[in-house]
């Protein structure tokens, strides 16, 4: 299944790259959202492999987590990444909002000289 998921990661990156190469600010933001999904999934695949139906919880009986359970480390990393990415996206959205007010355009090419604003 990792093979299929790898292909999914690839399509996420390809879609993100295409959207980020567009001139529209909105498409740029959507592209960054896809990019973060792709990165998270890429991290997800880098653990000890994907496991179905066995979250990294401690077994009550033994007091330790079964080694067959999913890798907790990359899950912790991804969790942090999701939250930080949320803060980042919110910031970019505010920036785009201000830029739209200042320039009155969705076109990045109209923002070449924004250092004057």
């Amino acid at each position: 299944m990792t093979f299929v998921l790898s292909l999914v990661v690839g399509t996420l990156f390809a879609g993100a790259a295409y959207l980020m190469l567009r001139r529209s600010v909105v498409k740029l933001i959507l592209g960054m959202a896809l990019l973060s999904h792709g990165t998270n999934l890429l991290l997800f695949l880098m653990g000890d492999g994907v496991v179905k139906g066995m979250p990294p919880f401690v077994d009550e009986a033994t007091g330790v987590t079964p080694t067959a359970a999913a890798d907790p480390l990359n899950q912790a990393l991804i969790l942090t990444a999701i939250v930080i990415n949320f803060g980042f996206t919110a910031f970019i959205l505010a920036l785009a909002y201000r830029a739209n007010q200042a320039v009155g355009s969705d076109d990045l090419d109209d923002m070449v000289e924004t250092d004057r604003l």
Binding site: F13, L28, I29, L30, V50, R98
Partner: protein, 813 residues
């Protein structure tokens, strides 16, 4: 002791700044005590060296890199250290008169002392890396000294040229020294010399030597890098006399002499140094005769003598080391004096041009007398030390270690350069001090102040007195230096009159005679065309190279940094592909198992495939709302993937974040255009599509390779076992976040808070729209209330204009 000597000069450098407030020459007398003390201290160490000993001192610096501040004093270091500190004393004194009343004198002294410390460090270093550091420091201080009169473009250009060429050579030198150190297994110079045979047998010998030669040739102004030295004559004369004649430019010669004992007897060394040295010697000697500026003339004669020294270091033969040492001393004595006297003439007469000077012997009798004596020494006229050194050169050239045919060529070259030496010495003396009174001089020319003549007088006296009975003593003093250059037991024996009339004396006299005859043809020789073809003009090549680099940088910047985000993106994505794809294809898939479908259920496929479908929908969305919905769908499907593969925390977080993001997007799009315009042309779209697909394939490959490699044992195991015992939690992911890696989570919160501050600043704080502002021309001017807010004083400004933007700020919240 040696460390102290180097550090004293460097640490005393700020004392030079006192000259800023005290412009009378007395400050020079006081400051001269520093190099004088160094000179005395080094002299006090001389008996040890003369007795065949060696003074060493080492301070570990970065032991793991073989870097240590290791200093050693042997005969060669002693000679150079005495020259640096001795002539340095005279130069410091001379500067006080030459720059009297100049407000920048303090700065000049500061740099001069830094140079002195660097030069002492260079010649005393016994570790190649230590030596390199001081080597570069001399380049930098030379840059500052040449650019002293930085108001003049020519001074800036000269300084920059010297810096770029010597530091460029310095880079080559560094690589060469590291290769040498690797071949020898040590960075200590004495150990490198001890491993000479091993280095010569190593394949690193040739590249190391060629790179070191590049460093030495640029530093010592050898052809084809010689052109920076005449341009460095923009420096104030004390700096020219000190750096660009007596000391710094000899650093390259010093290093060659240093490596000479065990690394020299190879064809590479022999031919490279002989050919380059010979060419430089002849070009310098010929060009010196075509110069009108007396400092230019002296600069080219210095180039010629540096060429002679490199030739002597290269050509081999039993007498070459002795001749090299004698030449170094003789040149420092007469050229140091002549530069200082040229400065005195410039200072008093107001010009350095030979065509504007003349007849100064009456106005400046002392200067004239000293200049005549030193010029006679430069010309190699008997009973002066220059003659003794020239005898040694000819003796070495007659008995050189070159193959037949080539040896005659070198001999002829040495004699030729001696002939031209007579000619330019004569030009200097007759042009400045004899003939009719010059046209371009000041109205009333006076003799230079006594303090300015003290240094040249001392050096000239040595040139005169040494041959008169002091030659055996001089030879004794120079013998340790010869020992350091030659390991074949070469002996230095200086003589004024040889016991029998041999070939060297005949050649020497012949050169004097031809030179004297040629003085009759001075105008023709001055007007003769340059010996170099016009395209081989170093100045012009340098300018073209600098211009080319700047133009290339401009084109490069305009292409890569054109201010458009998507072109940066394109380059970034392409770089990713180019850097990652080849190693991935070569090494990424070794031993990978083919993908199997064991235990994969259909719903997994379906949920995974829904993501690409969502992406395609996002790409094709024509309305903003469609785009948002499609992108949110992708996010939700990613959350579903987390659900399937045992990551409930991730799924929960992703779900919440996705919902919030969607809400924000919808709010944002309230102000954005309702639908996407087609902004790019079809060709752009297909090009970007191609880039995106290739990048996606590379990333998919990386993901597959990464997910399939055998894991080295990682820290996940520890987290699994210690989650309950150490963190008292059953959900390992949660325990990691709030306990094991709690500080990371704290950092994450800080990031979120910072983003929040930024968002608040963007949405709430904003410049007031100014109706008078012209959008195209004037930059943003803060209004009164804003200035008040920035200054932290809310009462100072007018409160009224704030209300104007209130409706705008409220919109969208």
């Amino acid at each position: 002791m040696l460390v102290l000597i180097v550090l004293t000069a460097l640490l005393m450098a700020p004392l030079g700044l006192f000259a800023r407030h005290e412009s009378r020459p007395v400050v020079g007398w006081i400051l001269a005590l520093i190099p004088l003390a160094l000179f005395v201290t080094i002299s006090a160490l001389a008996p040890t060296v003369l007795a065949g000993g060696r003074v060493e001192q080492a301070i570990p610096w970065v032991p793991r890199m073989g870097l240590e501040l290791r200093f050693a004093l042997d005969g060669l270091s002693l000679l150079f250290a005495l020259l640096v500190s001795g002539i340095g004393t005279l130069i410091v004194l001379y500067t006080a008169y030459y720059l009297a009343g100049d407000p920048g004198m303090g700065r000049f002294y500061l740099t001069l002392f830094i140079f002195m410390g660097a030069m002492l460090g260079l010649v005393l270093a016994d570790n190649v890396l230590t030596m390199f550091m001081f080597w570069e420091l001399t380049s930098v201080s030379s840059y500052l000294l040449v650019g002293y009169k930085h108001d003049y473009p020519s001074a800036r250009r000269g300084a920059q040229m010297g810096l770029l060429i010597t530091v460029g050579g310095g880079l080559a030198l560094l690589v060469g020294l590291v290769l040498l150190g690797n071949a020898a297994g040590s960075y200590t110079i004495s150990e490198i010399l001890a491993a000479g045979e091993q280095i010569k047998a190593s394949p690193l010998y040739t590249p190391a030597m060629l790179l070191i030669f590049a460093g030495c040739f640029t530093k010592s102004a050898q052809f084809p890098f010689h052109f920076w030295l005449p341009n460095a004559m923009q420096a104030p004369t004390p700096a020219s006399a000190y750096l660009h004649s007596a000391t710094m430019v000899k650093a390259g010669v010093y290093l060659l002499a240093r490596l000479h004992p065990t690394l020299s007897d190879t064809p590479l060394w022999l031919y490279t140094l002989t050919i380059v040295g010979m060419t430089t010697m002849l070009i310098g000697a010929v060009t010196a005769n075509r110069r009108d500026d007396i400092k230019g003339l002296l600069a080219y004669s210095t180039i010629s003598k540096l060429g002679t020294m490199v030739l002597l270091a290269g050509m081999g033969g039993p007498e070459a080391p002795a001749a090299l040492v004698a030449t170094i001393l003789a040149h420092a004595l007469y050229k140091g004096a002549l530069f200082m006297l040229a400065g005195a003439v410039d200072h008093e007469a107001g010009t350095r041009s030979l065509s504007q000077l003349g007849g100064l012997r009456r106005a400046m009798p002392w200067t004239a007398a000293l200049a005549i004596l030193s010029s006679l020494s430069m010309a190699g006229v008997p009973i002066l030390f220059g003659f003794v050194a020239k005898e040694e050169q000819l003796y070495a050239a007659v008995d050189n270690g070159l193959p037949p045919g080539f040896d005659i060529l070198v001999l002829i070259a040495v004699v030729t350069s001696a002939v031209f030496g007579v000619l330019y010495s004569w030009r200097l003396v007759s042009g400045v001090f004899f003939g009719p009174r010059g046209s371009g001089m000041k109205e009333h020319v006076h003799e230079a102040p006594a303090g300015m003549l003290l240094g040249p007088a001392l050096l000239t006296t040595l040139s005169v007195v040494l041959p008169l009975g002091l030659l055996p003593a001089t030879a004794t003093l120079l013998q340790p230096a010869v020992n350091a250059i030659s390991n074949e037991g070469a002996k230095i024996s200086l003589y004024l009159l040889p016991s029998q009339i041999g070939l060297p004396l005949i050649l020497s006299m012949t050169a004097l005679l031809i030179g004297a005859v040629l003085t009759r043809f001075e105008p023709q020789i001055v007007a003769a065309p340059s010996p170099l073809p016009p395209w081989l003009n170093g100045d012009r090549i340098y300018d073209a190279a600098v211009d080319g680099v700047l133009r290339g940088a401009t084109i490069f910047t305009r292409t890569l940094q054109n201010g458009k985000l998507r072109s940066y993106m394109t380059w970034a994505v392409l770089t990713l592909v180019v850097v990652v794809a080849p190693p991935l294809a070569l090494f990424g898939f070794g031993g990978l198992a083919l993908p199997t479908l064991d235990g994969v259920e259909p719903f997994e496929f379906v949920s995974a495939l829904l993501i690409p479908i969502g992406i395609v929908a996002t790409l094709n969305a024509r309305s903003r709302l469609g785009g948002i919905i499609a992108a949110s769908f992708v996010g939700l499907m990613v959350a579903f993937i987390f659900v399937i593969y045992s990551a409930p925390d991730l799924a929960l977080t992703q779900l919440l974040v996705e919902i919030l993001t969607t809400v924000f997007l919808v709010l944002l799009f309230a102000v954005m255009p309702a639908s996407f315009e087609r902004l790019s042309s079809p060709s752009e779209r297909s090009r970007d599509g191609l880039i995106a697909v290739v990048a996606g394939m590379v990333i998919a490959g990386v993901a597959f390779a990464a997910s399939s490699v055998t894991q080295v044992p990682n820290i996940s195991a520890a987290f699994r076992t210690e989650s309950q015992s150490q963190g008292f939690g059953d959900n390992v992911v949660n325990v990691i976040l709030v306990d094991f890696r709690g500080f990371d989570t704290l950092g994450e919160i800080v990031v979120l808070f910072t983003a929040l501050l930024g968002i608040y600043a963007m949405l709430r704080l904003r410049p007031v729209a100014d109706p008078t502002r012209d959008d195209e021309e004037t930059p943003l001017q803060p209004t009164l209330p804003e200035v008040a807010a920035l200054l932290g004083n809310g009462q100072a400004g007018q409160p009224a204009p704030r209300e104007r933007e209130a409706p705008v700020a409220g919109k969208g919240h």
